[in-house]
Symmetry: C2
Subunit: 507 residues, 2 copies
């Protein structure tokens, strides 16, 4: 498979350059920059955690009979991330079914909690020999309240299964993402996943109502409330949302599901410039208002890649930029009227040069697949350097343009797509193979560029292993120190997903 070009221990870098000193590097040659990176960057050193002993294995086998896995073939796939860029060497995979079992596991040994293993920053696989603690068998729906739409379930439920479950009951999950067929809700919460519906239903910080978390010492924190409002004390569950399993292992989730819309429409539009795309977005928000459920974009390079590698057809005239707009509402007639009024206006004003609209499910899926399968097309295109940037909306495409100019012909492709409504750009750069010189040209340039514009170097993917040392490009020293203090308080031995999220050296 073309995606499997490389497969090594720790390909990422862990550079810890002060943003304030970034400009110095601009004057160095590529070779100097690579050397500097090598000098600065060091893969983490294995911390002195106990190794798994025969006694430990005996304990696990007794606790989890048939669910304590040491078979190297099974372990192989759990040791490697989805992108095949990070590989650990764990020799034990545990598959608890209950919270109590998770609690029994957490004591002294380092663990790497794993859901669907679909993360993009190396956060869900072990770095060394940490035990892999899989939530795969914790996949039971616990309760669903068909009046309020509040679902409680175990952490290992697959997002798509939950979607089907609640859709049969006339609700939808408040999040949707490309990896829905594999990702677990516990992983979604641990990484504060964003995705395609954030524009409409907001972030998990608002829709997650409760969590059950096993702390590093095995204590079970029961905050699995099924209430929309609760202001009794600090909202401690928030700290576990987006902390990538480094502060506790999420075992249960309570989440608020919106009603299933009665009518869904998708429009696929072409724009001749990014400025026109932004103006289309502004007009769209005004005219579609409350029924707008997604506003996504891709550039012409993305379209070329899905056409070339996946043989998908461009449904409209070739354009520099494409938009996918989804509406979801309670009245088909009203929604279609709003959408047509909007389309008439943007076509008449030449903001949009061509478009296609779908109302049937199969056609909707076909239009969506162009946007959703870009990641897959990129994997076919070569080794991919992936960046997930949050920026003030009006600047989001400048990064692609500037990066293209900056890299010249050193990259195979520099493409941009993402969630316009959330100010979230996915910048991807492909190369025939891994290329240290190319990487040195991309980083820290991309981080400095983002930092100068007060953006976030990880809008929705998290930091995991790969980006942990870049945190200072988006967070202040005080904030990172506070994070370190939380980590020390909640996991004094550092056994929960070590080497992830926090930088190697806190300033």
């Amino acid at each position: 498979m073309a995606v499997f070009q490389r497969f090594q221990r720790l390909p990422f870098v862990s550079r810890c350059l002060k943003p304030q000193t970034c400009n110095v590097t601009a004057h160095k040659t590529v070779t100097e920059r690579i050397q500097q990176r090598r000098a600065h960057d060091a893969a983490p050193t294995r911390r002195p955690f106990s190794r798994v002993t025969p006694d430990d294995l005996s304990f696990f086998s007794h606790l989890l009979p048939g669910r304590t896995i040491t078979d190297p073939d099974v372990l192989e796939s759990c040791n490697v991330d989805w992108l095949k860029t990070v590989k650990g060497s764990s020799e034990v995979l545990l598959r608890p079914k209950t919270t109590e079992e998770v609690s029994q596991v957490l004591r002294n040994l380092a663990v790497s909690p794993q859901g669907g293993n679909t993360g993009l920053v190396g956060g869900s696989v072990p770095v060394f020999d940490e035990i892999i603690l899989s939530t795969a068998l914790m996949n039971r729906v616990l309760t669903f309240d068909s009046i309020s739409g509040i679902l409680t379930c175990q952490a290992g439920c697959v997002l798509e299964s939950l979607s089907q479950y609640v859709e049969e009951r006339d609700f939808v999950m408040p999040l949707d993402l490309g990896a829905k067929g594999s990702c677990h809700i516990g992983g979604n919460v641990s990484t504060n996943a964003g995705g395609l519906r954030l524009l409409r239903y907001g972030s998990l910080r608002g829709t997650v109502l409760g969590l059950e978390v096993v702390l590093a010492d095995g204590r079970v924190l029961d905050c699995l409330a099924k209430l929309r409002k609760d202001n009794t004390g600090y909202d401690v569950k928030q700290l576990f949302i987006g902390s990538e399993g480094t502060l506790g292992v999420i075992t249960g989730v309570s989440i608020l599901c919106p009603r299933k819309p009665k009518s869904v429409n998708v429009a696929f539009l072409g724009c001749s410039s990014f400025q026109n795309l932004l103006e289309t977005f502004q007009m769209c928000r005004g005219m579609l208002g409350e029924i707008l459920s997604a506003f996504e974009f891709l550039d012409a390079s993305c379209m070329s890649l899905v056409e070339k590698h996946l043989k998908l057809a461009n449904p409209i005239t070739e354009s520099p930029f494409y938009i996918v707009i989804e509406t979801a509402g309670s009245s088909a007639a009203h929604d279609e009227e709003k959408l047509h009024n909007f389309l008439d206006k943007v076509m008449a004003s030449s903001l949009v040069v061509d478009g296609a609209v779908a109302t049937e499910e199969a056609k909707i899926k076909a239009l969506w697949s162009i946007r959703e399968r870009i990641t897959e097309a990129l994997r076919h295109d070569g080794y991919t350097y992936k960046y997930d940037i949050s920026l003030p909306l009006e600047k989001i495409y400048d990064l692609v343009t500037d990066m293209r100019a900056h890299l010249g012909n050193r990259a195979k492709n520099v493409v941009g797509y993402g969630h316009v409504g959330d100010g979230n750009l996915h910048l991807n750069i492909t190369s025939p193979r891994e290329d240290a010189a190319l990487l040195a040209a991309i980083e820290p340039y991309v981080y400095e560029w983002t930092w100068k514009r007060q953006g976030s170097i990880s809008a929705e993917h998290g930091l995991g292993l790969k980006k942990r040392n870049y945190i200072y490009y988006s967070k202040s020293q005080e904030a990172v120190r506070l994070m370190r203090d939380f980590k020390t308080m909640l996991d004094p031995k550092g056994i929960l997903n070590p080497y992830k999220t926090l930088p190697d050296h806190v300033r």
Copy 2:
């Protein structure tokens, strides 16, 4: 003024009975229960904080010339809460204008941060001689992005002023509450205020994008991001939302404002039973869907009180229950059609017995005022015992019915109103005067009742001083211990809003 019946030091109780042992009290006489309460309850003891010295005053006067207030008349109003039920004895009021000034103030002396002082649980006034740290002069808008709708401002901006500011720019604040004319955005965030728009725009946990916070030792935590998405490390700002000033002083807020709707309608409806009201809500969510922006209710007793004390007219036939429905959308024609279809259906099915609809602003305000002025009417009715309960939706009115039966003729009025869409009941019990026997009949009954149904004993008001010791009715021991650990970590000297939020004794 009738509302000023009582005015004493610490009228609240701080009973710390284990929920597990609640039933024991049911067999006691009223006298025994009062005695038990007195034995169990103790107002907090002043902790050994330094007293403000002449040197401190000199430092403050130098730092905040003309804004270091020791005038007893001015201090009087800041020492008392809005309900006039809690009174402190602070001798210094500080009015910083900048974050740096707040930072200079926070060192060793205990402080009580104060915004608009509109809280209902005694959280915003000093208990003893804590310095009152007012945000009143920190009232500058810092930035507003008219593309994204992201507002950043100082913590002391009055909510209504911010509403006016963003409405002039075609946006609305994502929260609205009765106290908007006085409350500060910093106080709203510190108390995780809910209010009337939560149903539509979600909680502040999703809409607050960034905070600036001064920590107990004067360090400034700058998390004032202006990004919709940012997954770089733990979201530390969340801990300060709803922590009532006990972990840090919020000095700046970044918040996402939704677009101003083009069309707003309000319907005022009457139902013959709470069951019919719930069925109306279900139908409403299905038929109004994305344009539903509020679904509030009041019972006939509330209506009687606003008619009697405020001389407001009931716009429809007398009914056991009343509903206020608000729609907000982008098309007046569509919204009205949806609303009329819905009204036709609920009238035809006899779920609703009578109704009035308003589309003009003055009439909308008149209908809303019936719901919004209930608190004011209650103050005229006598001494009011206020409870703010979150429950599974189908049970929310049972508490009012059960409380009426439980109290018999001991109470003057037992009324219920609140946010149906959020499962949030405001239970209020009036009495001609403060009545220890009545209180002993209400508490812990109300908390036990809520606890047995897995509700929250404070949906949106917080715990403050009055309810801090009732936290175990809604939170587990592990959760409260974790809160205590956060407090110890962030405020080791305990100087930030002491005696609030956390119970006197952590189990």
